[in-house]
Structures are given as structure tokens and as C-alpha cells.
Symmetry: none
Subunit: 221 residues, 2 copies
DNA sequence: CAATCTCCCTCACATATGTGAACGCCGTCC
DNA sequence: GGACGGCGTTCACATATGTGAGGGAGATTG
């Protein structure tokens, strides 16, 4: 089995140095390019040779982000694997990359206790076309609050404060009908399984308060 | 007026037998459960149906006392009346029951010359929410909760639990119209100064929860 | 560009809600 | 006894509420 050829793009020189030497020590990896500059990583020749690119998500000001860089590299090599390396916000990958182009994309958290073996494994599997992007808040499994629009949240918030729909309409400068539509939509999200004995508005307010209270608690962490 | 539904808990089989037959003879009383065992009296279904419980204070060794049993029954039915029956130490009721939970509690001395009519009267009044323990608040300065009928509290309690009026009507076996009247009356007490921007039902529920939560806090004192 | 999506808006309609009015039923108080 | 007050019940009626249907603007995809 030949070594997996890797392009490595990392903004931070210290981290780049460490990872570079670790990758060079591995005989499953052939590091063909390591750089901190996006435009250096866009060398078509290198990209065509590479099996996979390990790219920092935040490449610093004045440079494109790692996702855009990965997409750009795909133009020179349809089948290059892209591993996005970041400390946080790895779910932006799932949101930013068109689903059809997502084959062969992975994310790799920058954690303090990472092992080079794991990095190597992710690189090799992504090079083979495996996709492991964290199931991001897409569609079904977003939290109820995330599944509501800004204005639906505003309307629910005011309702939960005991303000009636007409006053909400006045304060938000929208029609009474619009408020009721927002409420209705919010109910669907907050009370997905309405029981015949439920007081819909109260149930919705209770779940809403529960959810926002939980958020407050998380703010403190 | 329909018969007052009673749960009777008395340790002493002899007394229980006599009282049971006396209560059964009264057509103002419907005895739905008579037992000497606290755990039998904790049947949630019976408690929910009952208007009032007549409970011996000293239920014998190995059982909780009548006050604790009464408090426990309140967990299945917030608004059940509790009449504590005892030969002595009736003032422990006032000391043991949190003041705000004391609505609808009465004491009944076990005297040799008691008339069944008196028992019936105490049961019926306690069922209606009347409180007759040593320190009963005067009519003038009653808390909002005390200014509500027992049934209004029941209706508000269920509303605050997110149950809609038709289901409340079904569970309390009263008409939908009656529920709405009770709600309306409760709103007047709980939200004395309605602002034009208020959502009346939500405001009332919030004050109600506030008031009953205060009761919970006093439990810890 | 056309096809979708998403959000927002309006309209219509079936119910639900809040409340005044009026009556019946007890108890209480002269 | 009669007047009275509180509670429960029912009725009527003006609004409020919840939701389906459908249309429009703007962004995204193919």
C-alpha cells in the first residue's frame, strides 16, 4: 500500500511545525506540501498529485477560509479528500459545502489530546472517499429554538412575557394575522405532538420558557 | 347540589365501622373509600374524584400520620379538602401544615357526644375550601388564593398544568361553560388590574404559579 | 433561466374564549 | 319569615384564536 500523499495548510507556524514533523515520521503518509498560505496550496500540480488535503479552517485575515480553499482545490482535482481542521465550528462545513460535493470531506477537531495515529487514519480514509462530517444541526435534529425563525422567537418571547397578540403586532409593526401565523408555526415546533387535552398556547409557552432557561444556564458555563 | 364525595381513613376498625354506616346513611355524603390503611387511601383515582378526606390523626404504628397523609393526597388532588379527626393535639395541624397550603383544612375533635350532622357539615364546608383550624385568616385580608373558590383553584391548577378547558370540564364533571366562568372569576382575582396589552390567561397562570410556588418555598421552612 | 426553498403576508372559516345577565340553591342575619 | 350574599349553572354575544390555502419577494440550486 503506497503512502497517502498529503497537502497540509496551517496558518499557525508552531502547530504547522509540530504536525509537519509528526506526519513526516509516519510511513503511511507522504507530505508533499506544507504551507501557511492558501495561494501556495493552490498549486495545481501539487493538488493533482495529492490524495488528501489537511486544511485549517481559519487561515487568518486576508486569506480565504479552509472550506473555500478545499472547494477551490477540488477544481484541480475532483477526487482529492479534504480534511478541515479546526478548534470549533466544525458544523459550518456541513452548512457551507454543497451536499453533492461533500463526498470525501471530513472534519478533525483541534483537541489538546489528539494522537497522530488518529490524524493519519482520518487522512487515509478521507483520501479513499469516506465522508465523516459531524451530523450538523441540519433539518430534523436542530433544537426547537433553532427551527424557529427570528421573528417567531420574538413573538414567542413576548407571548411568554404575558403580552397579547395585538400588542405584539403593534410593537413589531406587523399585522395581527402575521403574529398569529408566527404563533401557529411556533406551536408546531414547540408542541410537536399535541394531545387533545392540551392547552396549546400554554404548552408552547412552557416549553419555550424551559428551552430559554436551559440556554441561560449554558451561558454561564 | 350533588353529594359530597368523601374518603375516610380511620385506624380503629370499630369506629370506622360506625362512622362508615353513619356516613353512608347521609344522602349529602357519598363515601367513595373507607380504609384503615394509608396506602389504600393514596389511590390517585379515588383522590381525584373526592371532594374531601376525613382522616384520623393517629393511624397507628407503621403508618404515616394523618397530616402527612393529607399532604400526600394533595399531590394527587390540589384541592381536596382535608379534615383531621383526633381526640387531642388538633393544634399540631396548624403547626405542621404550611400556612399557604392550609386552605381547605379543618379539624374535628373525637368527642363522645358528636353528632353525625356536625361531621357532615364540617366535611361539606371543608370540601368547599373553608378552613377551620385554630388560626384561620379573616375574610377581609385573604390572599388571592383564599379569595378563590375551591373549584376555581382546581380549574386554575389544571390550566396552569397546560390542560385545556374542555378536558378540565370532563375531569371535573362540570360543563364547559362552568369552567369558563370559574376561569373568568379566577382572572379577576389573579389579575386585578388588567392592562390592555395583557394576555389574560397567561398573566393569570403566571400569578397562580407564583403564588403556589411561594407555597412550595414555605414547605422548606 | 426555471425550479425550489424559505419566510412573510393576507384571507377565510371553524372554534374557543371572556364576560355580562339572569336564575336557582343554600346558608346567614336580622 | 324575608332580605341578602355567595356560589354554581346556563345562555348569549362580541371577540380572539388556530390553521389551511394561496400569493409574493428573495435567495439558492441545477
Amino acid at each position: 500500500m503506497r503512502a497517502t500523499r498529503v497537502i497540509y495548510v496551517e496558518n499557525d507556524p508552531a502547530l504547522r511545525g509540530i504536525m509537519t514533523s509528526l506526519l513526516q515520521d509516519s510511513d503511511e503518509i507522504e507530505l508533499i506540501l506544507a504551507t501557511g498560505l492558501a495561494h501556495e496550496a493552490l498549486d495545481p500540480e501539487a493538488i493533482r498529485l495529492a490524495d488528501v488535503a489537511l486544511i485549517d479552517l481559519a487561515l487568518g485575515s486576508g486569506q480565504m477560509n479552509g472550506i473555500d480553499l478545499g472547494l477551490a482545490m477540488r477544481k484541480s482535482n475532483d477526487n482529492i479528500g479534504i480534511v478541515i481542521h479546526s478548534q470549533y465550528a466544525l458544523d459550518t462545513v456541513a452548512r457551507s459545502v454543497p451536499p453533492a460535493a461533500l463526498i470525501g470531506w471530513s472534519t478533525l477537531p483541534k483537541s489538546g489530546d489528539m494522537f497522530i495515529e488518529d490524524v493519519v487514519r482520518v487522512l487515509r480514509e478521507t483520501a479513499k472517499g469516506f465522508t465523516s462530517v459531524p451530523s450538523s444541526p441540519s433539518r430534523e435534529d436542530r433544537s426547537p429554538l433553532e427551527r424557529m425563525t427570528m421573528r417567531q422567537r420574538a413573538v414567542m418571547g413576548m407571548t411568554a412575557a404575558g403580552i397579547n397578540p395585538q400588542e405584539i403586532a403593534r410593537r413589531l409593526a406587523i399585522s395581527h394575522d402575521a403574529v398569529r401565523q408566527d404563533l401557529s408555526a411556533a406551536y408546531r415546533v414547540l408542541v410537536p405532538d399535541v394531545q387533545p387535552e392540551d392547552d396549546l398556547r400554554l404548552r408552547a409557552v412552557f416549553t419555550y420558557l424551559e428551552l430559554t432557561r436551559q440556554d441561560d444556564a449554558e451561558d454561564g458555563l
